[in-house]
């Protein structure tokens, strides 16, 4: 089997948690935003440790490349507009609101 092409020095572009790995494989859960409930208060933007949330075209959106699925946004959301859902079956559970 041929070896994969990789940089000699294990590295990746800034902000990437895992070189070459899809973030879905790192996250155990991901935030799903109910835009009907969301009042655009931006609390989640302030609390997100990875600045993965932004308001874009009038809606809160997640940058999936940076979200590690910690669930802080869901806990902090004052109107409970964010739900954490499992990324894939068989994981070790996720934070419930």
């Amino acid at each position: 089997m041929a070896a994969k092409e990789l940089p000699v020095v294990p590295s990746a572009r800034p902000g990437t948690m895992a070189a070459g790995a899809a973030m879905e494989r790192i996250r155990e859960q991901r935030p799903v935003i109910d835009h009907q409930k969301c009042n655009l208060c931006r609390e989640c933007l302030l609390y997100c440790p990875d600045a993965a949330l932004a308001v874009d075209k009038g809606e809160v959106r997640v940058d999936w490349h940076f979200c590690k699925g910690c669930g802080i946004c869901a806990v902090e959301c004052p109107v409970r507009a964010i739900t954490m859902v499992a990324e894939y079956a068989g994981n070790r559970g996720f934070i419930e609101k």
Partner: protein, 386 residues
């Protein structure tokens, strides 16, 4: 230019001739005089180098790693407890493929506390992914260190290199050492700039790496380490063209042509064993010697080729891997596996500075000859000189 230098002074001169740019090191006996000598070179203006004062060996190697990633040529020294303390960072440096060069002035590990020589400290780091070279005298310390920079920085290798020599036996004993001219060394060893840390091209280095890629990185790293064995031969030949001194590649044989029983050793023991072989030859014994210069990557193919015609091999180990025996003996048995009959006798000796003289080695040779004659299966390992 010939000078009377101890091993530490020879190492410092090597750092000066290699135009080392960063020295981040923490003092430890018996390696500290290398630092002192280099700082003297810096103070008198014969070397332009940043001396970074650090609070531990762990930090020393971390600083050397950072400096190398910024594109500087870095050097440091350590041994024994310091090397053990560096253990975690050793793996970072090799995994990040940074050609740091380090002189390891071999000394026994505690407990009980010891300041005296043996190879236990470096053998404990056999899996850390560094190239590991051993030197038998102070000239070889200087020459191997200069070769180490070129080897580690070679595009095909890009790995850190440890150059080992023994505390006191080499570090504090003066010998005539021939220093090459700075200009000649500069031609042999041009400064290689390969910065990873670049403000204009930011990178996340040492990223968390999942099961998708980790094993692939490790394959690349091991393949590079294996290549270092081949590149060493080239570097040694190029160095011989420069200075006339050829230390050979990974291994060197001595009186092996018709040798029946071959002693195998690393470090200062090689010089002793060479005299022992001469003494045995003088009384009609068919003794030979194999010097293992390169311990990692272990040159199994070269060892196999050199020992093919021998009747028995005697591994002289100045280390003990507790519960498993001598590191050299294990490598030899693995490397020689499958050759029709090749008993490997394994002796653990000289630990913590216990002196090993020519008579000890001739006595070991005779023990082996008797056991071989009696057809005894060699013990997994035995302790000598208790």
């Amino acid at each position: 230019m010939r000078q009377l230098l101890n091993g530490n002074e020879a190492a410092a001169h090597a750092a000066r001739l290699a135009r080392v740019e960063v020295l981040a090191s923490y003092p430890i006996t018996p390696a500290a005089p290398v630092m002192e000598k280099i700082t003297q070179f810096i103070a008198e203006g014969s070397l332009k180098c940043n001396f970074v004062r650090v609070e531990s060996d762990h930090s020393a190697l971390a600083a050397a790693l950072g400096a190398t990633m910024a594109g500087a040529r870095s050097f440091l020294i350590t041994n024994s407890q310091g090397l053990a303390y560096m253990s975690e960072v050793l793996y970072h440096v090799s995994g990040l493929r940074q050609p740091v060069v380090m002189a390891v002035v071999n000394r026994a590990l505690a407990a009980p506390h010891s300041r005296f020589p043996e190879h236990g400290d470096v053998v404990a780091q056999e899996a850390c992914g560094w190239v590991q070279l051993f030197c038998e005298n102070n000239q070889e310390v200087l020459d191997s260190l200069l070769q180490a920079f070129r080897l580690g920085e070679d595009e095909r290798v890009r790995l850190p290199v440890m150059v080992n020599y023994e505390g006191y036996i080499q570090s504090h004993t003066r010998e005539t050492v021939d220093l090459p001219e700075q200009e000649a060394v500069a031609n042999f060893l041009p400064l290689v700039r390969r910065p990873v840390l670049d403000v204009n091209n930011p990178l996340a280095v040492n990223t968390v790496t999942g099961p998708e890629l980790y094993i692939d990185y490790k394959y690349q790293q091991d393949a590079a380490l294996q290549r270092a064995g081949e590149v060493l031969q080239e570097v040694s030949t190029a160095y011989a063209g420069l200075t006339g001194r050829d230390w050979g590649g990974p291994v060197t044989g001595y009186r092996l042509e018709d040798a029946a029983i071959v002693l195998v050793a690393m470090g200062s023991l090689v010089s002793t064993a060479r005299i022992a072989v001469d003494a045995l030859r003088a009384v009609g014994e068919k003794a030979g010697l194999l010097k293992v210069r390169l311990f990692r990557p272990f040159p199994a193919a070269a060892v196999r080729e050199s020992l093919r015609a021998a009747e028995a091999v005697v591994a002289l180990d100045k280390n003990i891997v507790y519960g498993a025996g001598g590191a050299l003996a294990r490598e030899l048995r693995a490397g020689l596996y499958g050759l029709a009959t090749m008993p490997v006798y394994s002796y653990i000796l000289g630990l913590g500075g216990r002196d090993v003289g020519v008579e000890d080695l001739t006595s070991i040779y005779r023990q082996v000859r008797e056991q071989l004659g009696a057809g005894t299966t060699p013990a997994p390992y035995q302790w000598y000189g208790l």
